[in-house]
């Protein structure tokens, strides 16, 4: 745990402005020279319901939400107060104040809206505050907001109030407000901000012992989510066609891409369903555009059919699978990593598809680029699989990571000149799907090109594309389609650096293995333990298919036992690893979490301590599953 850090949590009901307030607050901290990370918790509803955003800020780079928090700003319980209307907004039993006390660290600050909350209603509040040494500041945020503007500005009042208690400079906050609004609204907000700040300074002892850390960036930072990473990677690879259907959390990528592509002369299509979405991306790609689509679990299920079609017709395509807690509709706004098997095994037949699982926004950018590059080079669908956590978490990342050249190359697509020299059969038909070719890639033509006519079909086909059930041709075609995967593996192995991340000590006894977005919590846990001399190493896997066998074998063999950490109940990555390696079952155990919340580093540290030293059950809502035979 970074000692010099601030973790600020703002809570309220949906519609209270928790999201926009936290975005501005986060950006202000980043602009003051800090590294930031945000974690968002929200319900699947438009108005009401309990929501919070946690902002972690430190002079050192921060890659995860951390453990607990030390400042709580609660905007009251607005949703439970809509008593005049028939509709009930949210669960009245869940209050933005009482719900958010469990993880508040000892000595932490609480600012609550005394204009809305009667502290007497919060069970055992006084005792708990005393026990944990909390510093409690009742401030009439609603009253201050009303006095200078409108009641809704109580979020601005809250920022002003907490800023006074943590020695936060208001200038960056005011600058951001000025960038977002103007005129009377801006004036009113600035008044509310400053008045709340002054009120707290005058009414309370502001020497809380907590303050905003001081920091300075080595290089310029930008505040991005994993969804931005995926979208920007696609844009830089020349993706100019997206088709989709809204579904949380895939909608993030769909929205960003739709807005950007309209501006840059691309095409964005919101279509009737996810089958159409994937099929439309296939159509655009077949016609020559770099195209993508995607969805979340339930919508991706509908894409199963066109996914197989893309494999059989060897149509390049990138699909995004943005996981949320399932099965079925599950928990729409809660995170999980339980669609791994769905992504790898959905659709009939043997599969030639690629899958990448980035762990942070920069990896999301790089691996999406790689997914496009390989999909077009090898003519197969590539899937970028990530989750609600990475989709919605914002963090500061170096701007320079995105300072790269575009790559609109269409891979193994022929020009008309090249087509003239390409193999044709004796009836003059282009041999689109040849048997014996380099890297198993048979170059393609595009509709409209001369000398390139062929039939793309979901049926098995001859080299010229015509439907065929000849047994020898069948074997040749299957071998070539599947053979492309080993060529992709060779390509990935030849890269200067693999997409996998390694942490921790050499000569480790325990290896912690994870994949996708869970890697940031594992990284933090491993490094915390390593700092205290524990023999632990970590590996975060981002290449899922083709499986990075050599790298994983090396890691597994370097330690005495391996704990696989993932957010699902059935240990899906562990299953994949066992299938791919067919060994090591005796030394692999699992740490699983599937309550909808991502791992905290502390939970992983505790589990590793139990593995190392023995002990009882973990205290958190996680599951330890032993190695085979244990």
């Amino acid at each position: 745990m970074t000692t010099d850090e601030l973790i600020w949590r703002i809570s309220g009901g949906s519609g209270d402005g928790v999201d926009s307030t936290s975005q501005n607050f986060t950006k202000a901290l980043m602009r003051s020279g800090l590294h930031v990370f945000t974690h968002r918790h929200y319900p699947s509803r438009i108005r009401g319901g309990h929501t919070y955003v946690e902002v972690r800020a430190s002079a050192e780079p921060v890659a995860s939400r951390g453990d607990g928090f030390n400042v709580l700003l609660t905007l009251g319980d607005s949703f439970a107060r809509n008593t005049d209307e028939d509709a009930v907004y949210g669960n009245e039993a869940i209050k933005p104040l009482s719900e958010n006390l469990d993880e508040l660290r000892d000595g932490g600050i609480i600012v609550f809206d005394s204009g809305q909350v009667d502290i007497e209603e919060v069970p055992n509040f006084e005792e708990r505050a005393e026990e944990h040494d909390w510093q409690v500041f009742p401030v009439d945020l609603r009253g201050i907001a009303k006095e200078h503007g409108r009641e809704i500005m109580r979020n601005t009042a809250g920022v002003g109030a907490t800023a006074a208690l943590i020695d936060m400079d208001l200038d960056p906050v005011e600058d951001l407000m000025a960038e977002a609004m103007s005129g009377d609204i801006l004036e009113a907000n600035l008044d509310v901000l400053e008045d709340a700040h002054d009120h707290v300074t005058e009414e309370f002892d502001t020497d809380t012992g907590l303050s905003v850390p001081q920091g300075e960036h080595d290089e310029e930072q930008v505040l991005l989510s994993g969804s931005h990473g995926i979208s920007y990677g696609a844009i830089d690879e020349g993706c100019r066609f997206i088709s989709g259907y809204p579904m949380t959390p895939w909608t993030d990528v769909f929205t960003i891409m739709s807005q950007e592509l309209e501006e840059m002369g691309g095409i964005a299509e919101q279509v009737e369903d996810e089958i159409a979405a994937a099929a439309a991306a296939i159509g655009a790609s077949h016609a020559g555009a770099k195209a993508m689509s995607g969805s979340s679990g339930g919508g991706f299920a509908l894409m199963s059919e066109p996914l197989g079609l893309a494999e059989m017709t060897e149509t390049p395509l990138v699909l995004v699978e943005s996981m949320r807690a399932g099965p079925s509709t599950g928990m729409p706004t809660k995170t999980e990593q339980a669609d791994l098997e769905h992504v790898l095994y959905t659709s009939q037949g043997d599969h030639s598809r690629l899958a990448f699982a980035p762990g942070d926004p920069v990896e999301a950018y790089e691996q999406t680029r790689k997914a496009f590059e390989l999909a077009w080079k090898y003519q197969m669908p590539a899937i970028v699989i990530y989750d609600s956590k990475l989709a919605g978490e914002y963090r500061s990342v170096p701007k320079s990571a995105f300072d790269q050249e575009p790559n609109p190359d269409l891979g193994s697509t022929l020009t008309e000149d090249e087509l003239a020299d390409a193999p044709h059969d004796d009836t003059g038909r282009f041999q689109r799907f040849q048997h014996d070719v380099e890297d198993d890639v048979s170059p393609r033509s595009l509709p409209g090109q001369e000398n390139g006519r062929f039939l793309a079909t979901g049926n098995e086909h001859w080299p010229n594309g015509q439907i065929a059930e000849d047994t020898t041709n069948r074997v040749n075609q299957v071998d070539r389609r599947l053979g492309k995967l080993s060529s992709v593996r060779d390509d990935l192995n030849a890269m200067e650096e693999s997409f996998q991340s390694h942490w921790g000590t050499e000569d480790a006894e325990i290896g912690v293995l994870t994949w996708g977005s869970t890697q940031d919590s594992v990284e933090e846990a491993v490094e915390n333990l390593a700092a205290t001399g524990r023999p632990v190493a970590g590996l975060g896997v981002s290449e899922i298919a083709p499986f990075p066998e050599a790298e994983i074998v090396e890691f597994v063999e370097s330690v005495d036992e391996v704990m696989i950490v993932e957010m699902n109940a059935s240990a899906q990555f562990r299953g994949l690893l066992q299938k791919e390696l067919g060994a090591y079952g005796q030394k692999i155990s699992s740490l699983l979490k599937y309550n909808g919340e991502p791992f905290r580093a502390g939970e992983i540290e505790e589990a590793i301590e139990i593995e190392l030293n023995g002990g009882g059950e973990p205290t958190a809502q996680v599951t330890l599953r032993p190695a085979t035979g244990d």
């Binding site: 279509v271 066109p306 701007k399 079909t457």
Partner: protein, 311 residues
């Protein structure tokens, strides 16, 4: 260097140029109405002088969709019910392509009904031919969405309990801007209608009545047929949606009572295509997207230039 130079040719094209030199795997039975669609399509495209390499023929699954095996152009034989989203986005990515979608009554009005509705509604500039033989052929004779009520098969032993779909009315309510019905037994009309449908700017829906000699022996072979444009008994304005709708309704009733009416039912020349609508809103590039990838001078925008808003 020629990299990508599709289209626009007005050269004389012979019908035979669309015939593959290789023998397709025999999938259509002797006497199948699908041969008539194939012939009419070849005739119409030849009449229009379309180069086979500028045509993208996208089909679904079923006997009808095997048309790709008999027709030499760029082809995409896809999956059951899904030809339309593939066809329309290919057309958006490269509007220079002549995009024709084809499928059967089960493919288009059943499993693909959602795509049919929305493609018509969006008015994509393409032609959609539905081979309507009132039966599932390739899976051996089950009832289809256009099978008459009471049609029996192994899976409908007591006769189908559903009313048939009304394809023309469905196309009209969904928003197709050209709608016609023709029949395998009327090759001249079929070719003329396909010529019009392909020339039409917007979504052209052609319900093509075909016979299935193997699985639907009871089906009327659509003889005698009446061309509503040639008959004095029918007088309606095909540019008037209301009149067209009444005429379609009558036609759809008549079919199951033994009177086969064919002809042009609706044409809206005023309505903008989907591409034009999007262009008006600044949401659709003027150039074919695909050409950019071959244009070495095209300046690709970078995400790096978008990052200021995140700083």
């Amino acid at each position: 260097m020629t990299a990508f130079n599709a289209t626009g040719s007005e050269s004389d094209v012979e019908r035979d140029e669309y015939t593959p030199e290789i023998e397709p795997q025999a999938t259509w039975c002797p006497g199948c109405g699908d041969f008539a669609v194939l012939k009419a399509l070849k005739g119409a495209l030849a009449e229009l002088g379309k180069d086979p390499e500028e045509i993208l023929l996208v089909s679904g699954i079923g006997c009808s969709s095997k048309i790709n095996s008999y027709f030499d152009s760029y082809g995409f034989h896809s999956i059951h019910g899904r030809p339309l989203p593939i066809a329309r986005s290919a057309n958006l990515a490269n509007p220079d392509l002549e995009v024709v979608a084809a499928g059967g009554d089960g493919d288009g009005y059943g499993i693909g009904g959602n795509h049919f509705t929305h493609s018509a509604r969006e008015n994509h500039d393409m032609t959609y031919i539905v081979f309507n033989n009132e039966v599932f052929g390739l899976t051996k004779g089950q009832s289809s969405p256009t099978s008459p009520k009471g049609h029996t098969s192994k899976t409908q032993k007591k006769g189908v309990a559903k009313d048939p779909v009304r394809p023309l009315s469905l196309g009209l309510s969904a928003g197709a801007s050209y709608i016609a019905r023709t029949a395998a037994v009327n090759p001249r009309q079929a070719q003329d209608i396909l010529v019009e449908a392909i020339q039409h700017d917007g979504f052209s829906h052609v319900d093509f009545l075909t016979q299935c000699p193997t699985w639907n022996k009871d089906a009327r072979q659509y003889v005698p047929y009446v061309d509503v444009q040639d008959s004095e008994d029918y007088d309606f304005d095909i540019t008037d949606r209301g009149e067209a709708f009444e005429m379609m309704y009558e036609t759809e009733n008549a079919l199951y009572e033994g009177t086969v009416l064919t002809g042009r039912y609706y044409r809206d020349e005023e309505r903008r295509t989907y591409r034009e609508e999007k262009q008006m809103r600044g949401e659709m590039p003027d150039d074919p997207l695909v050409e950019r990838y071959f244009d070495e001078d095209y300046e690709w925008e970078r995400s790096y230039d978008l990052l200021d808003r995140h700083a």
